[in-house]
């Protein structure tokens, strides 16, 4: 298949699935449609990766762009979409939810469509709209359970993110304005047009524009102090949605930040942009560390861990250089796999213990042996312990940081990652090995009802195995791929 056919598949499959789900009244068929779309997207993305490697292509009148960076983000989105679709088959078998299943899957597939569209957008204005659409669609997924807490989370999500993303729009208009002094009043503001005109832009205006887009898309990425919507939205939505939000959505906004950092580099703004990026990344780690250690809700714990990992990725991009970019991108894929695994585990535990509070979960291994073990391995992985993928990427990012102008942040990162390691695993220690007098009683109550569907455990395996493989073996193909992305982001001299 040609690259344009692959792109059509990637965008068309979820869109068709969403329409199909709207038309069908049967939950089963909607489930099947969505799963088929996720599978098609995954296969098409895998096939697209080597093609994207050979250089940026544009399609459809220049509105679609396929480049190595975009294809990489697509891969992380497609992986999470597939895993979450699989998990939702088991998770949504709750009695009484059947009539609303087609609606859920229509939104789910539409959400996947908007996320897959974002990284493919060549025009910056259209990219902004794609990101805005992800918010609008996912708000209804967050509020899907329609109880007080989830509606509150949905409202907070849409207000905070809309306000944040409008700052990004202002920044984009400033970029357009700055470029219009050079390119005349009417032109298409594509990534490549902005990059090529960047050296001639007015530095003051460009710096302001960069800061606005960074804060704007940073809100969507969930960087502190704009992260306030994230723990609510991630914890109150249904679990497959939490995985999609955390593992996929945040990356689609991160790609915008990566591309604007590149513009700032070319525009010769000095050290300020990168220092701001690094400082915000470090602050995100700090805030995450505080909230992780004192957390009581299991899904909120995972959500703050997302703030942490977005901070780590931002640090990687902020440090820059081929190593920093490779580390950040490797981290992106590993985090997508690992965070899906963690949310699936949290969803299973919530199902078994009928609670979302960490304090109500005891003797996890006895109640859900297989899923519990996978979850524990995932917890080790997500805190950056070897031999998992996140360890490799974090070490790579630190190496990049030591060579950069902001080496101080490496030490902050080291300390905070250790705090998070201890704080995060302490919760798991209590849940797995802690002793509690009345836990035995409660365990007896739960015994027998702890039947987890195979669909709830299988995606955990599918997430953990590649995570382990990527931890012990950094494929050579990835290195050449990241080198191509670095060339794209840093210019010809890496």
């Amino acid at each position: 298949m040609s690259a344009s056919a692959l792109v059509t598949t990637i965008l068309g499959a979820p869109l068709l699935a969403a329409l199909g789900c709207l038309l069908t009244r049967r939950g089963r068929s909607a489930q099947l449609l969505n799963f088929a779309a996720a599978l098609a997207v995954f296969v098409a993305t895998l096939a697209l990766l080597p093609r994207a490697f050979s250089g940026p292509y544009t399609f459809w009148g220049g509105y679609l762009l396929v480049d190595p960076l975009g294809a990489w983000v697509l891969l992380s989105v497609a992986v999470v979409y597939l895993l979450a679709s699989m998990y939702s088959i088991g998770y949504l078998r709750i009695p009484g939810s059947a009539p609303r299943l087609p609606g859920f899957y229509a939104l789910f597939a539409a959400f996947a469509f908007t996320m897959l569209a974002g990284p493919l957008m060549n025009n910056i204005g259209v990219y902004w709209i794609a990101i805005e659409l992800t918010t609008l669609v996912s708000t209804f997924l967050v509020g899907f359970e329609r109880n007080r807490a989830s509606v509150e989370a949905a409202w907070k999500y849409i207000i905070v993110v809309s306000a944040g993303i409008s700052l990004a729009l202002l920044g984009i208009i400033f970029f357009y304005w700055a470029a219009s002094f050079q390119l005349g009043p009417t032109f298409d503001l594509t990534w490549s047009a902005l990059r090529s005109v960047a050296p001639r832009l007015d530095p003051t205006l460009t710096l302001m524009a960069f800061l606005l887009v960074f804060i704007g898309f940073g809100t969507k990425v969930g960087l502190a102090p704009m992260h306030t919507w994230l723990p609510d939205a991630h914890s109150e939505g249904p679990t497959p949605v939490s995985a999609m939000l955390s593992g996929a959505l945040l990356n689609t906004a991160m790609i915008g930040i990566a591309r604007f950092i590149q513009v700032a580099d070319v525009a010769r703004l000095g050290l300020t942009p990168r220092s701001v990026v690094v400082a915000i990344g470090a602050l995100s780690l700090f805030v995450a560390a505080l909230f992780i250690t004192r957390q009581t809700g299991i899904k909120r714990l995972m959500a703050y861990s997302s703030v942490e990992h977005m901070g780590v990725m931002t640090l990687g991009l902020g440090f820059g250089g081929p190593l920093g970019i490779a580390g950040a991108l490797y981290h992106m894929l590993n985090h997508s796999l690992n965070k899906s695994l963690m949310f699936f585990g949290a969803g299973n535990a919530m199902h078994v213990f009928h609670s979302r509070r960490i304090g109500r979960m005891h003797h996890v291994l006895k109640l859900m042996p297989a899923a519990g073990l996978l979850w524990l391995a995932g917890a080790l992985a997500i805190t950056g312990a070897p031999p998992f993928g996140l360890f490799l990427s974090e070490v790579t990012i630190m190496r990049a940081g030591l060579a950069s102008a902001n080496a101080w942040a490496v030490f902050a990162m080291l300390v905070l990652l250790n705090v998070i390691f201890i704080g995060f695993l302490n919760h798991f220690r209590a849940m797995y090995f802690g002793s509690n007098p009345d836990a035995e009683v409660r365990m007896a109550e739960h015994a027998g009802e702890a039947q987890l569907s195979a669909w709830c455990v299988l995606p955990m395996w599918l997430a953990l195995i590649p995570l382990l493989v990527l931890g012990v073996w950094w494929p050579h193909a990835f290195s050449t791929y990241f080198a191509a992305i670095s060339r794209e982001l840093l210019g010809s001299t890496p």
């Binding site: 025009n123 609008l136 509020g143 329609r146 007080r148 509606v151 849409i158 202002l170 357009y176 004192r294």
Partner: protein, 226 residues
């Protein structure tokens, strides 16, 4: 760019429209009544539509006439109508527990305008545009942006929050008409359309809030923290 070589009549017309829009943002800030918000917002949108048409006329951008017509239609008529329907359903007439009284909000708003002016002048200096209508447009754009954010902070009725977002959108739109009048038509149309979808989504969410959370004030939404 357009703003640097305008005839004086056009420059003063643009300034008049921009400043009138800013004043209407203050009307929003200074009132407690939801109906007032709606009228002020609608009039503001009409002014921005007129501004688009004026920029199109003096700058020779014929496609801006389409933008102007759609702005008046969507922002000036459809959006206020959609909001009116939400308000009717809510049975809430006014803001009751604002975090900052309207009078104090006006003072803070004025300070924000001063801040926006300082930033704009600084940018104007760097671009050698001091004294042109571009600096004024920039000031109004940033002021409306900040006033919108202020409304989000100090008002708690859901309608006020939606209007806060719309005011800051209006600010961006107003500024972009003067600063980048040549922006491709497609982008402007999509952004206009996007706004309709946003407000439709808000409408549905407000209904959920009233049904499932039993409130239309965000002061009562404080369950999720930490």
């Amino acid at each position: 760019m357009l703003a640097t070589h305008l005839n004086p009549l056009a420059a003063s017309l643009f300034s008049l429209l921009a400043i009138a829009s800013l004043l209407l943002a203050f009307v929003l800030l200074g009132s407690r009544w939801l109906q007032d918000y709606l009228i002020a917002f609608a009039v503001e949108s009409w002014l921005i539509g007129a501004l688009s048409a004026a920029v199109g006329f003096y700058g020779h951008f014929p496609e801006l006439y389409i933008v102007a017509a759609l702005t008046v239609l969507f922002r000036g008529l459809v959006l206020p109508y959609m909001l009116l329907r939400i308000i009717r359903r809510l049975e809430v007439q006014r803001e009751i527990h604002e975090r900052l009284a309207p009078a104090s909000s006006l003072v803070v708003g004025a300070l924000l305008v001063v801040f926006a002016f300082v930033v704009s002048t600084h940018l104007g200096d760097s671009l050698h545009l001091v004294g042109s209508v571009a600096v004024l447009a920039l000031t109004v754009m940033l002021s409306m942006k900040l006033i919108g954010l202020l409304m989000l902070i100090v008002r708690s009725e859901v309608i006020s929050q939606i209007l806060g977002l719309l005011v800051l959108e209006n600010g961006i739109f107003l500024g972009s008409q003067i600063l980048v009048p040549g922006m491709p038509l497609l982008i402007e149309l999509v952004i206009l359309f996007d706004l309709l979808v946003v407000v439709a989504c808000f409408g549905v969410l407000v209904r959920y809030l009233v049904v499932h959370a039993g409130t239309s004030s965000t002061l009562n939404l404080r369950r999720l923290a930490g």
